[in-house]
Amino acid sequence: MDHPGLPDPGLELGVKFLPEDPPRRFAVDQPAAVPTPLFLSDCGDLELDPDEQVTFATESGAEYDVARKSWGYYATPSLNGRLVKFGLRAVLVRDEARKYVVLLVERGHESDFQKYLDLEGYVIVCWMDSTEALQALEATLAR
């Protein structure tokens, strides 16, 4: 990792970053049918105070903010505004065990994403990436 933690306790930095150094590599729970195990590297913990935010970014320029509030988090920027502007599309999916997750797909990586869904046995419940889609979802849920 390129940042070993807080370099100087005297700094004003609010966020606390506790790195796992080296990152802890672990196998992800997957359906039995998946031939190759997938691994993730746990890089550490970030602790935000209320009204602090960090930005998650990719080398291709996609990014999104997570902001802490006293009651919890903004887990995404506006789904039909800032998130789209920064190249990410939100989608709700579920796996074979009926667990649901919110994923953010980089625009232009949809075919790579579809391969991942097929591999993992995920199905798309609904895209939440445009005003039309979100208004339609809202109307459907209100019925």
Binding site: D2, S41, D45, Q53, A57, G72, Y74, S78, T140
Partner: protein, 137 residues
């Protein structure tokens, strides 16, 4: 992974004096560059945690909404946020700490935000799935 802190944090204002919630001062604490298959965990002193993981195609913005997330004290909810002067409301995914629902409701109520759907229980998520996609095998 590369964490680039903003030190000191960049402070910026959200809202205006006329906004229902007034001006909120936010602190931008930095940037997290994750490589594919890396994750970090966001924690709070109260014990909640949630993971953000990068994949080649994007991000896991949440762990499982009806399993890991509630197990670590967080409830996902889709919220609609109308803005004065903008005919199009914005939508967000919030994660609400269990036990802080009243504070969350007050936050929403002051700003005129509304809950579209809680996404925190299997029953609620399966009902959403059924309503959107019809019965599935």
């Amino acid at each position: 992974m590369k964490f680039t802190p903003q030190d000191p944090p960049r402070t910026f204002s959200v809202g205006t004096p006329a906004s229902p919630g007034g001006i909120v001062r936010m602190k931008d604490c930095g940037r997290v560059d994750l490589r594919p298959d890396e994750q970090v965990t966001l924690t709070t002193p109260s014990g909640t945690e949630y993971d953000v993981a990068r994949k080649s195609w994007g991000f896991y913005a949440t762990p499982s909404l009806n399993s890991r997330l509630p197990r670590f004290g967080l409830r996902a909810v889709l919220v609609k946020c109308p803005e004065a002067g903008n005919p199009v409301a914005k939508y967000f995914i919030y994660l609400v700490e269990r036990g802080r629902e009243a504070e969350f409701e007050q936050y929403n109520s002051i700003r005129g935000y509304g809950v579209v759907a809680w996404l925190d229980r299997s029953e609620a998520l399966e009902e959403l799935d059924r309503k959107v996609n019809g019965p599935r095998p």
